[in-house]
């Protein structure tokens, strides 16, 4: 594996048992992602896009195959070390913009940094970093707002800030614009593209071709298999 490679997937398989019937969602999927790439995964509904994203990020267990993230095989990691990897090395953006309902926007953004023990930072320093990220994504004005007091686009940008707070190696985004209108979608994709241009590796799942068009590479998945790759 080259030093530039951040994610390497080999013969990945994922099977669900539903009503005693085996459902092979992913079948021998193999691909790799280099540092600084922005890769989109596209495919029809039920093709296994989200399952692929969650399996390669360690959120879901694989049935067979091997996934190496930053040189570490995910199947050899314990639950606790996977949790540490998600906290310090990965960022996640979900379609539904999940946030902790009892925390303000800034607290939601800085929570992973407070939890992380990698950097020895004071609360003030963490707060300042969070505010800097919010300023960078153009949402400084909603710092102290509750999560129900902001628009969908602002909330998704806050989620991007949260995913970035610990300077992750890679961001995994599942339909980041799926719940947004066209204007908000464009704003969010603009921010993601900016982050990628600054060196952040991004893997995102989308069914929107306009979103995929902004990525450096598109993996097309059908029936659990990568059918093509467009650069």
């Amino acid at each position: 594996m080259s030093n530039n490679r951040i994610l390497e997937v080999k013969d990945l398989c994922k099977t669900y048992i539903i009503n005693k019937r085996q459902n092979n969602v992913l079948r021998n999927v193999s691909f790799s992602i280099d540092k600084g790439e922005m890769v989109a995964v596209m495919g029809p509904s039920g093709s296994g896009k989200s399952t692929l994203l969650y399996t390669v990020s360690g959120m879901d267990k694989m049935t067979a195959g091997d996934v190496k993230f930053c040189g570490k095989s995910l199947s050899e990691q314990s639950e606790n070390s996977l949790a540490e990897m998600r906290l310090d090395d990965m960022g996640f953006i979900f379609q539904q913009m999940y946030m902790m309902k009892n925390l303000s926007i800034i607290d939601n953004i800085t929570l992973p940094a407070v939890k992380s023990t990698r950097k020895k930072e004071s609360r003030k320093e963490i707060l300042r970093r969070g505010q800097d990220l919010m300023h960078k994504l153009g949402i400084s004005e909603i710092c102290e707002n509750d999560i129900n007091e902001v628009s969908g686009g602002q909330l998704q940008r806050a989620c991007i800030c949260r995913s970035m707070i610990n300077d992750p190696q890679m961001i995994f985004a599942d339909e980041p614009t799926g719940a947004l209108n066209r204007t908000s979608s464009d704003e969010v994709m603009e921010e993601l593209t900016k982050l990628n241009s600054e060196g952040t590796t991004i893997m995102l799942v989308t069914h929107d071709s306009k979103v995929a068009a902004k990525c450096s590479r598109v993996l097309y998945i059908v029936d659990g298999n990568i059918r093509g790759s467009i650069i």
């Binding site: 949790a83 310090d88 979900f94 539904q96 999940y98 946030m99 925390l103 303000s104 992380s116 129900n148």
Partner: protein, 474 residues
């Protein structure tokens, strides 16, 4: 309908369980008294019906919220975007707590209704146990001694045979005290012995007649006892009365009442009022200088022994065994034991038994509430739990956060219960002591370690156990 069924089943089970439980409680006191039959079954049925009705009333009140829900709430999960005040009270940036501790504390303060209900329930449960503990501890403590109208002595002999010798006239109080004193001195325990004599004269004031029990002891001073009003009798024609006797006679401090002892009537001035649990508070006290013939003394409380060498508590305990051997009787006690024998041996044991039983029930209730609440939280907060795990929180951090929330509620409940335990005990138990004669209340014997540490820790542990064991899916 669902809750009607649940309440009805619970009421039926509770009713049938109450029968043996009630019999068990009564058995300890009914040994010494005749109890008439009553309609306890009817009362039990009525109470069960009342419980069902109260539960239904609450259910009906809660289901009124269903009217307010609209289809759009399903889409927005109850969120309309409108809010008039901030939800979160704490700020992560300003807090010194770790992420888990902060989230737990913030959740408790952000959902005051939810956790407040739990806190109130835990507080009430704790208060119930604390009240019973304070009552049980007080009933067996020397703090009630003033209410027994006795002075503090090293040892008390309450042997029935020795008391009966005085009651039947076989011997006088003075002779019996002298006999005991001599026997103890001959056995190497020099001491002085006295006894509170009980006299039952006829008292009359402005046409009101009564026969209270007067206490009299020529070996102590009237000023050795406590009075709630006025001053201790100083002369032989001065007396003190309990408030209930004074009320019945319609007499007050300064009034002159007529008292007939052995067919001789004299006037006595009421100089003080006091509290007493002897004879349910219908007592008075004569001055020690009054010459009362031994034949007028109908009973003694017990024989009080004061050793010449003023031994410490350890020594007193060993001397109790010696005195028991000397007089071949088991009825020899220290002050605490004497108070217990006056109240009734079974009463304290019954209260302690009830306390343990209530504590057990409360622990079960607390565990069940914690289990139910935690399951409800997990069900409601699944997206948040999933988000925390996605962010990189380990399972044990999530469990710790949930457990901490319960611990915080239990801690707040413990603080509230500790602050309220004394006033609530007074509120609930003073009337019971009032019936026994202590109408101005009593000084409660509060054991701080038991009441302020042990019970709160038990409840907190039950809370944590209930919350923790229902978290497998986190």
């Amino acid at each position: 309908m669902k809750y009607l069924g649940i309440a009805a089943i619970g009421a039926v089970i509770g009713f049938f369980l109450s029968i043996p439980f009630g019999n068990m409680l009564l058995s300890s006191v009914s040994r010494k008294m005749y109890l008439g039959s009553d309609s306890s079954a009817a009362v039990g049925i009525l109470c069960s019906l009342a419980v069902v009705l109260v539960i239904l009333a609450f259910c009906w009140r809660c289901t009124r919220k269903i009217k307010k829900l609209s289809p759009i709430d399903a889409v927005r999960s109850g969120q309309t975007g409108e809010r008039f005040k901030k939800k979160g009270l704490l700020r992560l940036g300003k807090s010194k707590l770790g992420a888990t501790g902060f989230l737990a504390l913030n959740d408790v303060f952000s959902s005051p209704k939810q956790f407040g209900v739990m806190t109130v329930i835990f507080t009430v449960c704790l208060l119930l146990v604390m009240c019973l503990a304070n009552t049980g501890n007080t009933l067996a403590s020397r703090k009630l001694l003033p209410l027994m109208c006795s002075t503090d002595s090293d040892i008390y002999i309450t042997d029935t045979d020795m008391i009966m010798e005085v009651m039947t006239g076989e011997t006088t109080v003075t002779e019996q005290c002298d006999k005991i004193e001599k026997k103890l001195t001959d056995n190497g325990l020099p001491c002085s012995v006295h006894a509170e004599g009980l006299v039952s004269p006829a008292v009359e004031f402005k046409g009101n007649k009564l026969s209270p029990t007067f206490l009299y002891c020529k070996d102590t001073k009237a000023s050795d006892y406590s009075y709630s009003e006025g001053y201790a009798p100083k002369y032989s024609n001065e007396i003190a009365l309990t408030s209930s006797v004074a009320e019945k006679l319609e007499a007050g401090i300064g009034d002159k009442v007529n008292i007939t002892i052995n067919e001789k009537t004299d006037e006595y001035i009421v100089t003080a009022l006091f509290q007493s649990m002897v004879k349910l508070g219908e007592t008075g006290r004569f001055h020690e200088s009054l010459k009362i013939p031994d034949s007028a003394v109908s009973q003694v409380m017990g024989f009080q022994i004061d050793f010449d060498d003023s031994p410490d508590e350890e020594e007193i305990k060993s001397r109790i065994s010696r005195v028991k051997d000397i007089f071949d009787t088991k009825y020899v006690d220290d002050t605490d034991g004497f108070v217990m024998s006056c109240i009734g041996e079974g009463v304290k044991d019954t209260i302690n038994g009830v306390k343990v039983f209530v504590l057990l029930i409360i622990v079960i209730i607390v565990i069940m509430i914690s289990v139910l609440m935690e399951r409800s939280f997990i069900s409601k907060e699944k997206p948040e739990i999933a988000l925390m795990k996605a962010m990189g929180f380990k399972s044990r951090s999530v469990r710790r956060q949930h457990t901490l929330r319960f611990l915080i509620s239990a801690a707040i409940a413990a603080v509230l219960a500790i602050l309220l335990s004394t006033p609530v005990t007074r509120l609930c138990i003073d009337p019971i002591f009032g019936i026994m004669g202590a109408i101005d209340g009593v000084e409660y014997n509060i054991k701080p370690v038991e009441v302020f540490a042990v019970y709160p820790v038990i409840i907190a542990a039950a809370t944590v156990l209930g919350g923790h064991t229902s978290q497998p899916c986190t």
